[in-house]
């Protein structure tokens, strides 16, 4: 019974994960827990066949910022990004870009993105996306619940 419950949960999660928009899927993959992301990507490689690596590198992203006073756009500074761009069977491309230097994470993201784009992603990919979405939302909620504890009414001072 417990096994059936777990299966149902995985299946439900997979449905939820499949229904996520493309930007959300990419957001979640870029922020996913690294070990789980890499393991998932490795599990997909056999089915994807030969992978052409178009790029695997680090580079800089300039971050424009809007001045809240006048609306002027200016460069806040550069962020180091790890990028991976691949092509798999059928000419389908996968792409990963993650803040930081971890090229393996970027490559894992690209592999999963390629599997989804090629329509060859098993249920585990979508269940992973849904589980990560839940974990990331829970992390934010936990953090913001602590932030809320610091709210003040300035009359009290």
């Amino acid at each position: 019974m417990k096994g059936e419950d777990r299966a149902a949960t995985t299946s439900e999660r997979a449905v939820a994960g499949r229904n996520l928009s493309e930007p959300r899927k990419l957001d979640i993959l870029a922020r996913a827990e690294p070990d789980g992301l890499k393991s998932l990507a490795e599990s997909l490689l056999d089915d994807l066949g030969a992978v052409d690596v178009l790029s695997s590198r680090t580079g800089l992203a300039m971050v424009p910022r809007e001045d809240s006073v006048t609306g002027t756009l200016f460069h806040l500074g550069e962020v180091l990004i790890a990028e991976a761009h691949i092509r798999v069977a059928g000419g389908v491309e996968g792409y990963g870009a993650i803040v930081g230097r971890d090229l393996e994470r970027a490559m894992a993201m690209a592999v999963i993105d390629a599997a989804i784009a090629a329509d060859r992603a098993p249920e585990t990919v979508f269940a992973f996306l849904a589980a990560e979405a839940e974990r990331q939302a829970a992390d934010d909620a936990t953090r913001l619940a602590k932030v809320e504890a610091t709210r003040v009414e300035m009359e009290a001072f």
Partner: protein, 367 residues
Amino acid sequence: MAYAATRGGEAAIGEAERLFREDLPSLTAERVAMVRRTLPYLVDRAMGEASLYEPDLAALAIAQAGGDLYEAVLLLRAYRTTQPRLWTAEAVRHSDIFTVRRISAAFKDIPGGQILGPTLDYSHRLLKVGVLSGETEAADPVTPRPVPAPPTQPALVDWQREHGLVADTRAESVPLDEIPDVTRDGLLFPAPRAHRLQTLARGDTGGMLALGYANMRGYGPTHPTVNDLRLGEAEVRLRHPRGTVFSAGRVRVSEAEMVSKAASGGTLELGFCATFGWNEVKTIAGATLDLSMHFESDYPAASEEFVLYHTEPTEASGFCIHFKMPHYVTFQSSLDALRGANTDRPAKGRAGDAAPDPAKAVEEIVS
């Protein structure tokens, strides 16, 4: 300026660096991780001044430089030149910031409320000396509220505009790839506002504090107060080859608006500063400088050229420490002039026209 080449000192130079490093523990990944984990505000300061966000590299630079922050910033600026700029991210706006701290000292009831967030503002500044005797200081856990704070907060300045407190003047829209970039254009005056804000974003915290403080103390045209101060995280949103915009992750940012207590033309004047990392002193000082630079004034600390030229950490520290390099030729020239002046002086004295004039002697030396 002229410099003497250093010759025959290779062995001494090598030993000098070894002597510097001998005082430090070995540079290991564990030590770098310790710096990153235990000194996040120092790491943030280095990233802000380097204008390069990568906490592991910033922690490495700090560890490698033994904590000499200017050296660390120089290492990061040098590393940055080895990396290609591959993207311009989507613009970050005030309302996009995942906010963990947001306060106003000018307005007590602000839209979204006041949230202290992580701060020592109201803490006793007592050194925990017991730690040196073996005690462990562990923070008590925060008691979370049942309902979390909203992830983003409205902009106070939008409310001020709606109520006619701030002039509704907005800059013209610029394509992201055409934003003026001080790292490529060079700094000319009067500087485009984009250059000014970028230069402040990568400015030296200490230098900005000194000049901002001068303004606050009266050596400037404004009487500043914090309008809106926030710490948070910004999404770095990139474009996928298929065209989808997504977040590649978050970076820590801080930003401040400063308001002048003296209204100008019926509306409040605001200054702005934002930077990578959580660094409130820098953004408060930077927004004060931006505010002061709005006004015509004779104060050097409110002059755009004076402020921006003297708060560039790598240029300023580099110029300062370059005076340690051999200057024997230029100094020898000064000595020759001094000796010449001294030789001439008795002859002039004998002529009986006038007593030796030290100021004139100096003029002769420097001419």
